[in-house]
Symmetry: C2
Subunit: 244 residues, 2 copies
DNA sequence: CCGTATTCAAATGTCAGACATTTAAATGTC
DNA sequence: GACATTTAAATGTCTGACATTTGAATACGG
């Protein structure tokens, strides 16, 4: 005899869900001010503490911001791409670290996404994008440790993403690429391999400039193979991973 | 004379940030139980209410879950792909609706991502993936209203994404594709155009089965052109959008 | 009349203590 | 040993208060 299959969700959860729904529906628009905590407490017939817990949840999701003082209160946030990217990166990073993603899967996903981006970059890029790529390549070519190399690497890929000039794509991919940086940092880049990689990057930049989509795709296939090979050589050098 | 440039963040925010950092650092692992609210209040030298507000924030970000009762408490969540996708979809949907993304940009992003996916689907797909695609196509071909057509459309694309058999990619793309559904729902699909689309889908499924990556890419270019044309015809039929 | 200082009011942020509810373990009973 | 009861620990909620911040109204002096 199941007494009450409906899991009775806490009141604070219910309140935050309802407010979130009103925001999603456009009932509460960006910039609107929510009623004060005391008013909300009266509306929902609960205490201020309960309302506050609900509001903190909305704030955590970036749906509202709160201000103190005379004309303060809770205001519906205008969700920006920058804020969404930040949250996306944080979530993706945790997701990857908690689920023990194997390197091959990560590399595969990353390159798949970047190929998509490069496709658009070929047709949409501007001069500034090429400059950004070249700056990143120069940083890669300078003497630097592995971590700096990786950071410059991210810069290059970020430039490639931005060259697509599509904010939605940038939002999606920035999350993926940045979240994978810790994984990428696991690689060590011997001098000889760095040269190979840099040469491929130069060719990518050149192909983008020449607006040759097929060539870009082809180079990225090469690049992916190089990265995977690099990782596998590192693995075999260190021997199989021992559990525990 | 700026007295205190450092914006003093509320204590509850500080606490949630610190706990979130401990989770991200792996200091608190999935499944671990946080100290009870009373203990945390003692540790941070604050009241239980303040601790609770901090915990609600973490719960909103899906970092912890709470349970009542004797051996209840706050436990570090094992972040699953499914949960992350749900959050990602919600955020992306809001982001798109709040930032008035134009249709062309959305379509461009969507097809760019799907091309990336299709590339992997060609090499990674299994028989079950092809079956899922065909099921979706059959639903598309049956008599249905625009909304049902769109839903089936999403199913097809979801099947394509899953065929890549890369969880990271699925996570990223599911968010993008599902978030764009409201935009896609804006289109009306006349009978003649449906046939065109369905024919293209059949060809995609066929090319995936034949493991012909170039052909898949080519068909998707066609498909994108068709969708854009469809939208533009609809726009011109209704005339330019009037403000207000 | 204008500019400055003071006061005020409204709102969030925090605290303390209490009670309600849930849950599993400990205990008692047959 | 199986079942019912008690109990303890934890979250969920309420109440009322005070602290702090901030813009606006007000008072004052020139």
């Amino acid at each position: 005899m199941p007494p009450d299959q409906t899991a009775p969700k806490p009141l604070s959860t219910d309140i935050s869900d309802r407010l979130a729904a009103r925001i999603a529906d456009g009932d509460l628009m960006a910039g609107d001010r929510l009623p004060s905590e005391a008013e909300l407490a009266a509306q929902f017939d609960c205490s201020r503490a309960t309302v506050r817990e609900a509001l903190k949840r909305l704030a955590a999701k970036n749906l509202i911001r709160t201000a103190r003082g005379h004309s303060g209160g809770a205001f519906v946030n205008n969700l920006t791409y920058a804020a969404a990217v930040e949250a996306h990166v944080a979530t993706s990073t945790l997701l990857l670290s908690m689920n023990a993603v194997d390197f091959q899967t990560a590399v595969e996903a990353r390159f798949a996404l970047e190929r998509a981006c490069a496709h658009l970059a070929v047709t949409h890029h501007e001069a500034s994008d090429l400059r950004a790529m070249k700056t990143a390549i120069n940083r890669l070519a300078s003497k630097c440790n592995d971590e700096q190399f990786c950071a410059a690497d991210v810069s290059f890929h970020r430039a490639l993403v931005d060259a697509a000039h599509n904010p939605i794509l940038s939002y999606q991919l920035a999350g993926a690429v940045e979240a994978m940086q810790p994984l990428m940092n696991m690689i060590t880049y011997p001098e000889r391999d760095r040269e190979v990689i840099i040469r491929l990057y130069r060719r990518i930049a050149g192909a983008v400039m020449a607006r040759d989509a097929a060539e870009v795709r082809h180079i990225m296939d090469e690049l992916e193979a190089v990265i995977l090979d690099l990782f596998q050589r590192r693995q075999s050098r260190r021997g199989p991973v021992k559990p525990g």
